[in-house]
């Protein structure tokens, strides 16, 4: 990556890489966060290109923001990154740091996921800016993603406020050309003792709330003047107010329209919006998800059209924006498809994401299903055990929810089945410890299965408190999950190798029969990260296969059916290209038909 020291050259960067470069150019000295698609690459890139500042993963977003607030109070420009739902975790701190203000810049990058590409919901975090009464910046391409970090720092310091820089999946994971700027040192500041500002006892908090409203009025004025908001004059018949990546779609679909392109979207420049509205015949708001801009315009008495034509659901695309303008009568309706333009109907194949070949999470779920356990899921790769054929997980809500929900399901008397919470190692450190305290404290009769694969796998393999390395790859103190559980008072803590099928079975059976809280920890590393694990692949000796389908119950992407049948059932075959040789299917096979491939270089020899 040529983004570490290049100046005034043009480089192709993703939105996330551009934000990292922006952080470097604006002298960010503290950067924290918790991995979460689509925000993860920001800190990874920054750790790679900036070797001097403090760049680190925190165990969760609230801790990351707390560290960030401290960094800003210490006088260092600070960046905190998270995905949209992460800001829910950090919201407690956010709402109050809005009162105290900051000393050096505090920029919170929050990456929303319209379309729910890799999340549990598609909440619109722009609403947080209004909730906390702090400024909101929305870049619309990689160049702006980089430049807006610097702008956000200046706004943060000038108005003594945290700033939200909001990106979306489409922006974070799209690459575009970026003109590099210079790396400048931030103005030096130091910590200053100021309890009336930073200690939010009620008497101080009341005073600070007044300051928040005064600040908001100043920000409204700033919003009218800042070049972050741009009036692009075009046709007087149609005007469009838009922000973020939707701006690109509007320009592509309606190149002639007048556009009020907003980069600074809270507080809104209402005077400018009024003048813009008066200059056009019809006024539209094109925004993804919630009618945030639209509602504010309407509350200000400005007639706009928006969600009637541009859905609140999912991600907008050029196609959906075009359809919206067609529905509104701005664009002519599409011609009916001619015979020549009709394409054959696609036979769409259901291809859900799946656990990788050799994934150590597979066997525990197979066993839990066999035990007819009520499995309470959590956030991570293992959520994929919801799909057939594993189909073992019955609930998944939010980070760390599994253990608390399991307590409630058991105490609420939902079932006579064993209640098992399943949670990954990174998620356990994120928010699994307080609910485990609850379980011990209140005498729950549940089993907690901690799937420890020594990484944050779903987001691409980030280190955490249990891996022994920090974000920079340096050796760090390792926090051992088993010791944590014992220290919390869990009486039965067992560690098991998830590839050892009988041991998993025995261990989980013993755990669910324990009268109290039991913890089972599986301890095999992820087969993908930090390094791919591969040994010689296995193959199926077809004559021995009795098509019992036991191996197919794993849902392993390397095993599939052949056209050969045994008493009506498909025999199976293993793809040597993707099989990593974990041998779990061979262990399950009752006829010992699954054997190591004799000579790897010979390929499909049989």
């Amino acid at each position: 990556m040529a983004i570490d020291n290049a100046v005034a050259t043009r480089v192709l960067l993703s939105g996330n890489e551009a934000i990292a470069r922006g952080a470097m150019e604006s002298g960010i000295r503290v950067a924290t966060g918790y991995p979460g698609t689509p925000s993860t690459e920001i800190l990874e890139t920054l750790a790679h290109i900036d070797t001097e500042g403090y760049v680190a993963w925190s165990p969760n977003e609230k801790v990351a923001l707390d560290v960030g607030v401290g960094g800003a109070l210490a006088g260092s420009r600070t960046l905190v990154t998270m995905k949209h739902v992460g800001l829910n975790v950090a919201a407690d701190t956010l709402m109050s740091v809005a009162y105290t203000g900051v000393r050096a810049a505090l920029v919170i990058v929050c990456a929303d996921d319209p379309g729910v590409h890799s999340s549990q919901n598609e909440q619109d975090n722009r609403i947080y800016a209004r909730f906390a009464a702090i400024p909101l910046l929305e870049p619309s391409d990689s160049q702006e993603a980089k430049d807006f970090v610097g702008q956000a720092c200046e706004i943060s310091e000038r108005f003594d406020t945290p700033v939200i820089l909001r990106t979306t999946t489409r922006l974070s994971h799209s690459k575009g050309m970026v003109e590099m700027g210079e790396v400048v040192a931030a103005p030096a500041k130091t910590y200053q003792r100021e309890p009336s500002k930073y200690v939010l006892v009620p008497s101080n908090a009341r005073v600070r709330h007044e300051k928040v409203l005064e600040r908001l009025a100043q920000l409204e004025e700033f919003s009218e003047q800042t070049p972050l908001n741009r009036w692009e004059k075009g046709s007087a018949s149609v005007g469009v107010i838009t922000s973020g990546v939707c701006y690109q779609y509007v320009k592509e679909v309606l190149p002639e329209a007048s556009v009020l392109k907003l980069g600074f979207t809270y507080p809104l420049p209402m005077q400018t919006v009024r003048e813009f509205a008066a200059s056009v015949e019809r006024l539209f708001v094109v925004e993804e998800l919630e009618p945030v801009l639209e509602d504010q315009c309407k509350a200000g008495g400005i007639a706009v059209e928006g969600k009637t034509f541009f859905s609140r659901l999912g991600e907008l695309t050029p196609e959906r924006v075009k359809e919206g303008f067609q529905k509104a009568g701005v664009l002519s309706a599409p011609p009916p498809p001619t015979e020549a333009s009709k394409l054959p109907v696609s036979q769409n194949l259901f291809r859900p994401p799946a656990l990788c070949p050799g994934c150590p999470h597979t066997i525990p779920y197979l066993v839990l299903k066999k035990m007819n356990a009520l499995v309470v899921g959590d956030i991570g790769c293992y959520t994929l055990a919801v799909y057939e054929p594993l189909a073992a997980i019955e609930t998944t809500l939010a980070m760390g929810c599994s253990i608390g929900m399991a307590i409630g399901l058991q105490k609420g008397g939902a079932t006579s089945r064993p209640v098992v919470a399943t949670i990954g190692d990174s998620t356990f450190f994120h928010s699994g410890i307080p609910p485990l305290i609850d379980a011990v404290y209140n005498g729950a009769r549940i089993t907690v299965l901690i799937l420890d694969n020594h990484t944050t796998a779903m987001t691409g393999g980030q280190d955490h408190a249990g891996t022994g390395h920090n974000l920079r790859g340096e050796i760090s103190r390792t926090i051992e999950i088993a010791k944590v559980c014992k220290a919390l008072g869990v009486e039965q803590v067992q560690v098991v190798d998830p590839y050892d099928v009988p041991a998993v079975f025995r261990t989980l059976k013993a755990a669910v029969s324990h009268d109290g809280v039991s913890v089972v920890i599986t301890n095999r590393p992820c087969v993908v990260s930090p390094a791919p694990i591969r040994s010689a692949p296995y193959e199926v000796a077809a004559p021995a296969c009795n098509a019992c389908q036991k191996c197919m119950n794993l849902g392993c992407p390397s095993i599939t059916w052949t056209d050969e049948f045994h008493e009506g059932q498909h025999k199976v075959t293993i793809d040597p290209g993707t099989c990593i040789g974990c041998a779990v299917c061979a262990l399950l096979c009752p006829t010992e038909a699954i054997v190591p491939l004799p000579d790897v270089s010979a390929g499909r020899s049989q």
């Binding site: 690109q248 695309t317 959520t383 057939e388 059916w561």
Partner: protein
Amino acid sequence: MENGQVQNVLIVGVGGQGVLTASDILASVCLASGYDVKKSEVHGMAKRGGVVYTHVRYGRKVLSPLIEPGASDVLLAFEPAEALRWSKYLKPGGTLITNLGQRVPPASCLDRRPQAAVCYPQEIQRSLRQQRGDVRALDAESLATELGNPKVSNTVLLGVLSNVCEFSAEDWTNAIERSVKPQAREVNRRAFLAGRNLQFPAAEEEPAAAPAQEAAASLAIADIEIRETWCKGCEICVVVCPQNCLKMNDARKAVVADASSCIRCMLCEWLCPDLAVNVH
């Protein structure tokens, strides 16, 4: 390409096939040739064996990072069912390049009625041939395996793509070399040329129509008989049953939980040490 026009290339496939690497190579070729480029893709959960797509757009000035359906000049598919899924993005008269090596997902192998078919688009090659316009279908894995490394199939596909996009072979090979380890450069160079030198339409015969798939027969519900007095409660039959038909009752005896999902694999009958189980 005319001035002011934007060229759209949609690359699709399955997680782990190298779709994103291929799009990075294409983007860097565009960049080296002085174009504005935008590229959009998915990460995270969608990648794990699921559907992966990446939009690459290049031209003098590119606005939206996304391609509209019916607007892609080229659709490059790493997997034939994905070619079908995304074919609506192809512009009339656009070029479809597709690998024919199938990736059948576990979710396609769930129907356990006797003689059930794999749930995967049937007659896929015929459907692909019915696409109007320029269709370039090849078995990239076979070509790559012949070259000694099945993993370079994505470079073979880039070789085919190189005849459709207007960049020089040198720009392509430079970009490919930058993206692979030094020891893999030679095989990737050969893979690129193998793809680039393929002739389309290949002089292939229309394959004979596939025999009509026999409908899966429904299964008469099995009668699983367990002699309670012979059963000593070892649980082997319960553990071994792939369909979870059996369970242990409170008296630690094996009983039938759900006979309707039995596929008559006979494992319980064969493996019972007490000869207590019979499947009729």
